[in-house]
């Protein structure tokens, strides 16, 4: 026996063992069938590791919180499982299949749009109902992202679609010319969410006659924004539209301060969470506007109790992703109750019942009041405009 053969044999043995491990679990779980414990199984996948881990973790934490609260209140019990997909299409597909092996009956879909676009056809094929808290691209609910007639029909969104937000931003800026009339945009050119928002913003701005003086881009994980900020400043922009996440936004705000650029900064729901970054200098964000469905400082009862519970359990302030996930679970529970779902039902039957509920019910949660859904899966709720004043989020008119 020589060294090479030993290694090959060892590898082959390992491979055989893992094959057995993988296949043996097939006989113990049933695919998309009933669960034996009486709890309805809700699955979800999101980035729990990797660059975007902060979003997946927020969704997982908030959803678990909601499930625990609902279970504690008695009535139909739920079981929740979140799988890691690293915001990657390939991993989202394996995460989905893993969840199906576990016996998933209802789902929160995926957290990110890129992953969602790959997983949605699978949800459609297996007829499993999904309500995503944050995958906002129309490609997640429609087969052809530009054509609403190709909607899958069993996938719904708790968050605004990207076109919706981009358009709403343009409308807001048009109606609030006091914020500035020359708009510069800066967006992340290799990100689905950011590009989608910007494209729709531009189209609506053109339609309304909003003047866009400059358009700058950057890539994910970029650190230096000196060129982009300088060029927008040189073009005379006094409103800077940033349909991006709060991490690059922080760097842009810092660069703007460094260069002495005076402008109104305007973001969308990805901007939420900027104030709760450990070590963030809140004066940097003074006067920052954002269109978001959720404001952690809001005093309404649902929001306040959610924030309190989340802080108590996880030691940090929830962001918009968490809030949408929390609402999504409650919305599912509301619909499931109205449809009298039980854990012994097949996922397929649950799906048609849920779709019926969602297209007819109204929901009030932390991210919206009197929220309704269209048959295409799009949510209808009003975005709130928030401005940062004295280091806190304040409702803007």
């Amino acid at each position: 026996m020589n060294y090479k053969t030993f290694m090959k044999g060892g590898m082959a043995a390992l491979m055989a063992m893992s094959l057995v491990a993988c296949s043996s679990s097939a006989s113990t779980t049933s695919s998309s069938s009933s669960s034996s414990a009486g709890a309805i199984k809700i699955g979800a996948s999101g980035p729990l590791t990797g660059n975007a881990a902060v979003y997946g973790t927020a969704v997982k934490n908030a959803a678990q919180l909601a499930v625990d609260e609902i279970n504690a209140a008695g009535g139909q019990q739920y079981e929740f499982k979140a799988e890691d997909d690293q915001a990657d299409a390939e991993k989202a597909v394996t995460a989905y299949n893993n969840l199906v092996d576990w016996g998933m009956q209802l789902s929160l879909g995926t957290v990110t749009s890129g992953a969602g676009q790959a997983a949605s056809p699978l949800y459609k094929e297996d007829s499993i109902f999904a309500l995503t808290p944050s995958a906002s691209s129309t490609g997640v609910i429609y087969k052809d992202m530009k054509d609403s007639s190709t909607a899958y029909g069993n996938i719904f969104q708790m968050c605004f679609t990207d076109p919706n937000q981009g358009t709403a931003s343009a409308v807001y800026l048009n109606e609030h010319k006091d914020l500035g009339t020359k708009v510069g945009t800066i967006y992340c050119s290799d990100d689905n969410y950011s590009t989608g928002l910007e494209t729709n913003f531009e189209a609506k701005a053109k339609e309304l006659g909003v003047e866009v003086v400059g358009k700058q881009t950057f890539q994910t994980n970029a650190t230096d924004f000196s060129v982009q900020v300088k060029q927008l400043a040189d073009a005379g922009a006094n409103v800077i539209f940033m349909p991006i996440y709060y991490q690059p936004a922080t760097l842009i705000l810092q660069e703007a301060k460094k260069q002495g650029v005076k402008a109104t900064f305007f973001g969308c729901d990805g901007m939420d969470g900027i104030l709760s970054q450990d070590g963030f200098d809140k004066t940097l964000a003074e006067g920052l506007y954002m269109l978001t469905p959720f404001s952690a400082d809001s005093t309404d009862e649902k929001t306040a109790s959610f924030v309190k519970a989340y802080k108590a359990k996880y030691n940090e302030t929830p962001n918009q992703f968490a809030a949408d996930a929390y609402d999504a679970v409650y919305a599912i529970a509301q619909a499931a109750k109205a449809a009298n779902l039980t854990s012994s039902m097949k996922a397929k039957d649950m799906c048609s019942a849920m779709v019926k509920q969602f297209t007819s019910m109204t929901f009030t949660g932390t991210t919206g009041s009197n929220v309704t859904w269209k048959a295409t899966g799009e949510v209808s709720k009003d975005p709130k405009a928030i401005v940062v004043k004295d280091g806190a989020y304040v409702s803007a008119k």
Binding site: N51, V54, S189, Q216, S226, V227, K230, T250, G279, E316
Partner: protein, 291 residues
């Protein structure tokens, strides 16, 4: 005027790349290995400095020193555990192990410190020197200054001290060095220690300029610095400095004058062109192969 302003930005960015590239180049020059985990040691240094500065409220110098010590120890530990056993193996095996160490550090940081981005405090001077309509940030000047000091110190150390000479001997021929009575293991550990200490300094400068601290923060700067080190001639210390500065300038100019979407692609394209003209990098030594 815009040109000069971009040039200054480029030099500022480049000085950060240079200081990371210095660590890379030094370790490669002496231990002949590409330490892929270098960027992640920077990340650890950044987190340590962050916690020292913000949670413990310590002043800058002690925080940096503690960060240097932590990184130093981490570098030596990694070297002893993961790289030393592979001293006789092919350089490819060490590369893969370095990748494993990199994944380990990134995921370990994620579990220890969480996924949310932390903002590095403004511990270093933030203002700028105004020269007419141009302004040079104090931080950039400081970074370039630190670069030069480190370069001078390293060059003196390697050329004038006994350990330095031993390091040069190791980089030329480990076998002969052992025959000369040099403890090669100790020398390589010292090399990693210095490289990791440099990483900590790089971390503080990097995060003062771009204050986001997150577990994968070392990844992109690591690749860019590796590119800069090769650009300038890997193993050459002034080469790393030059390569870093040039890379920063090229990146800024590409972004400003050609395209913001394609700036990374253009930087790499320039690198390829330069390497075709000068195959061992700008200041790289042309190595003669012994038959």
């Amino acid at each position: 005027m815009a040109f000069l302003s971009y040039l200054i930005s480029g030099l500022g960015l480049g000085s950060v790349y240079a200081i990371i590239a210095l660590g890379y180049s030094m370790v490669y020059g002496i231990a002949k290995m590409l330490n892929f985990a270098h960027g992640d040691i920077i990340m650890v240094g950044a987190y340590v400095a962050f916690y020292m500065l913000s949670s413990f409220g310590m002043p800058v110098i002690p925080s940096v020193l503690i960060s240097i010590v932590v990184c130093l120890v981490l570098g030596v530990v990694i070297e002893r555990l993961a790289y030393k056993p592979l001293r006789q193996a092919s350089s490819l095996a060490v590369l893969i192990t370095a990748i494993g160490v990199s994944y380990f550090l990134e995921n370990g940081a994620l579990l220890l410190w969480g996924a949310d981005t932390k903002i590095f405090p403004n511990a270093l001077p933030q203002g700028s020197l105004d020269l007419g309509s141009l302004s040079v940030s104090y931080l950039s000047l400081l970074t370039i200054g630190v670069n030069i000091v480190i370069m001078v110190c390293l060059t003196l150390f390697i050329n004038k001290t006994k350990t330095g000479r031993a390091m040069r001997a190791c980089s030329e021929d480990k076998g002969a060095a052992t025959l000369m009575g040099i403890n090669v293991n100790r020398i390589i550990s010292i090399t990693f220690a210095i490289g990791s200490g440099l990483a900590a300094i790089a971390a503080v400068l990097l995060c003062s300029a771009y204050p986001s601290v997150y577990p994968t923060l070392g990844s992109m700067p690591g690749i860019k610095a590796f590119t800069a080190a090769v650009f300038g001639g890997i193993g050459s210390i002034p080469g790393a400095f030059l390569g870093g500065l040039l890379l920063g300038v090229i990146e800024i100019f590409a972004r400003a004058y050609i395209s913001t979407q394609l700036s990374d692609a253009i930087v790499f394209a320039v690198l390829i062109v330069v390497l075709l003209i000068k195959p061992t990098g700008l200041l790289g030594k042309k190595t003669s192969e012994k038959v």
